[in-house]
């Protein structure tokens, strides 16, 4: 394995053909027309390789790891899985989560958020809330279209945030694949 230092091949002087402008313009046209005809062929045959996506008619399929806006996972009975422990509130770097805990007397978990507000205008989609959650109750969805006309509409309450588990399967599947991973014992730094 080696690192070499190389000097870049600088064009000392352009050839007279290149200095004539016209041949280089034709060369440029050749490159761009190649792209054009390839795209046209793809369009005509229905196997378009064009890079542009005709949003909103067409949508991009995000990767499994994609982090969209954070949402709350709803249990089968419609209540949030969240037990209002407040860890996401602690972990959030922008302080965009506000939780008011409440009681749930006739349930095994006993605690539930009375209100759960996320200020999407502040949220920076970093995913630390999801990483810190010990209940798999807040996850990053695949939703990104959250534009509104007012800032107040960016305050998402519990009711807006609850999403049934079935709709979040892809994200939960992605997260669960990571759960079993082992960790390496902490090795001291060399020379320390």
């Amino acid at each position: 394995m080696a690192v070499r230092v190389v000097t870049v091949n600088r064009v000392a002087k352009l050839t007279w053909v290149e200095r004539l402008y016209l041949p280089m313009i034709l060369k440029g046209l050749w490159v761009t027309s190649r792209h054009f005809f390839r795209n046209l062929w793809g369009f005509a045959t229905g196997r378009s390789e064009a890079f542009v996506v005709q949003y909103p008619e067409e949508r991009v399929d995000f990767a499994d790891a994609f982090r969209g806006m954070p949402v709350l996972v709803a249990r089968g009975d419609g209540l949030p899985r969240c037990v209002a422990c407040g860890l996401c509130e602690f972990a959030c770097p922008t302080d965009c989560i506000r939780i008011v805990p409440g009681e749930l007397p006739d349930d095994a978990v006993e605690r539930t958020p009375r209100s759960f507000t996320i200020d999407m205008a502040r949220c920076m989609f970093c995913g630390l809330c999801e990483e810190s959650c010990p209940e798999e109750a807040i996850v990053m969805s695949r939703e990104v279209e959250i534009a509104t006309f007012t800032r107040d509409a960016m305050l998402y309450e519990k009711e807006h945030l609850l999403v049934p588990e079935a709709l979040l399967e892809r994200r939960l599947g992605f997260l669960r694949a990571e759960y079993g991973r082992e960790r390496a014992p902490a090795a001291p730094r060399d020379g320390a």
Binding site: M1, V3, V6, V11, E182, R183, P185
Partner: protein, 412 residues
């Protein structure tokens, strides 16, 4: 003195008053938001006709108080903030910060993690250079190469999204590890990407590199000599274009760069054309490194990517759900955050723009006392007046573009 009639100068009035040609310098405000500059910065230009006499660069329009904000957050919460330093190569900023914290904590990350970090960092560098070269072409009125460059960058960002979960603000590297391992099918996607980016770079090269207009605009403009670069602590491709082979990946190898095979391109003159060529060559080298990393990660097989130290890294999620001990640890780690031993440390990595250093001071608590980011853009921008003094106003555009000043990183 003769009082006879003489020919009037162009513009001279009949009463003999002298025309005001080139007598007075003109002050021109360019920016802070100008279509021909990428980056929010204001130039106060003193012009003599079309030549630049002097230039005052005014930065600070994107100042968000990064350091102040970090001082009031836990070490862990600073990581997403480092994303916002450089939108083009967020992973490298994550990496620099986390490695600096690891230096204070005196821990070493597992081998697989180090390869992953190099892989992610090089993908990021690729995106940065593509933006630099593509956008510079756009600002020189060449729309097509810009589209090819940005298409390649989108492909790079697709890969970044697959790996990190976000295209721009990646938040991938963690103190003592990375967020997660390679997703399934990454090697195949990376192979696809490499082929496509190489083909786009070939098209880019065919349209631009030997095009007379492009060469005329770049050659011998914005020259910064080796000595001036060193005096101004300029680093990265700008320094290498001036012929100084300083690359921290080679000179102070961190992570696994000493096990990799790559070239460090250097220029000879230090003008914009050399900067362009150095960047293009560095992209080829980054592609090579990505290839080697993917191969090596495949050969290494599954393994840990985080250190198992609750002092540093939040416990593995699977165990938090099952074990009481880990659950308590999770609560402790999140609410208290990692406590970094008192001390100070400076760690620099080679980012796409040059030496990205983090100087951290800790008093042993969960919050940093000082998070200083040594921004390569800021220092690379400083000698700009030196580069364009005496040049035409139009030469300012390519010179500024190839410095690749990133507002977020320059102004913090």
């Amino acid at each position: 003195m003769s009082t006879g009639p003489r020919l009037r100068l162009p513009g001279e009035r009949k009463d003999g008053a002298q025309p005001d040609l080139h007598a007075e310098h003109q002050i021109l405000n360019m920016g802070p938001s100008h279509p021909a500059t990428h980056g929010t910065v204001k130039f106060l230009i003193e012009l003599d006709g079309e030549s630049i006499v002097d230039l005052d660069v005014q930065v600070g329009y994107v100042h968000r108080g990064f350091e102040k904000e970090c001082e009031s957050r836990s070490w862990y919460q600073c990581i997403p903030y480092t994303d916002r330093l450089n939108y083009n190569s967020a992973i490298l900023c994550n990496l620099g910060f986390c490695m600096a914290v690891e230096k204070l904590l005196e821990i070493e990350t597992p081998e697989r993690c180090q390869w992953l970090r190099v892989l992610a960092g090089e993908i990021s560098r690729l995106g940065d250079h593509l933006t630099r070269c593509g956008a510079s072409c756009l600002e020189l009125q060449a729309m097509t190469p810009f589209l090819y460059g940005i298409e390649a960058r989108e492909l790079v960002w697709d890969l970044q999204e697959m790996l990190c979960g976000a295209r721009v603000t990646t938040n991938y590297v963690r103190i003592g590890g990375v967020k997660h391992d390679l997703p399934e099918g990454f090697a195949a996607a990376a192979g696809d990407l490499l082929a496509k980016v190489r083909s786009l770079l070939r098209d880019f090269d065919a349209v631009v590199t030997r095009n007379r207009i492009f060469v005329d605009r770049l050659k011998d403009t914005g020259v910064l000599s080796k000595e001036d670069c060193i005096r101004h602590a300029v680093t990265g491709p700008v320094l290498r274009a001036a012929g100084v082979p300083l690359d921290l990946r080679k000179d102070e190898p961190y992570l696994v760069y000493d096990q990799l095979d790559f070239d460090v391109p250097v220029g000879t003159v230090g003008d914009n054309y050399d900067r362009y060529l150095v960047c293009v060559e560095e992209m080829q080298q980054s592609l090579r490194i990505v290839e080697q990393c993917v191969d090596r990660l495949g050969a290494l097989g599954p393994g840990p990517v985080d250190v198992d130290d609750p002092r540093v890294r939040w416990p593995a999620k699977g165990r938090v759900f099952e074990g009481m001990e880990e659950l308590i640890q999770q609560f402790k780690s999140v609410t208290e955050g990692p406590k970094v031993p008192a001390g100070e440390g400076y760690l620099a990595i080679e980012s796409a723009n040059g030496e990205l250093g983090f100087y951290l001071v800790s008093d042993g608590s969960q919050r940093p006392v000082k998070v200083r980011c040594r921004p390569p853009s800021f220092l690379n921008l400083q000698p700009l007046p030196l580069m364009v003094r005496g040049a035409m106003l139009a030469d300012l555009i390519p010179t500024f573009d190839f410095l690749n000043m990133i507002g977020g990183e320059c102004d913090r």
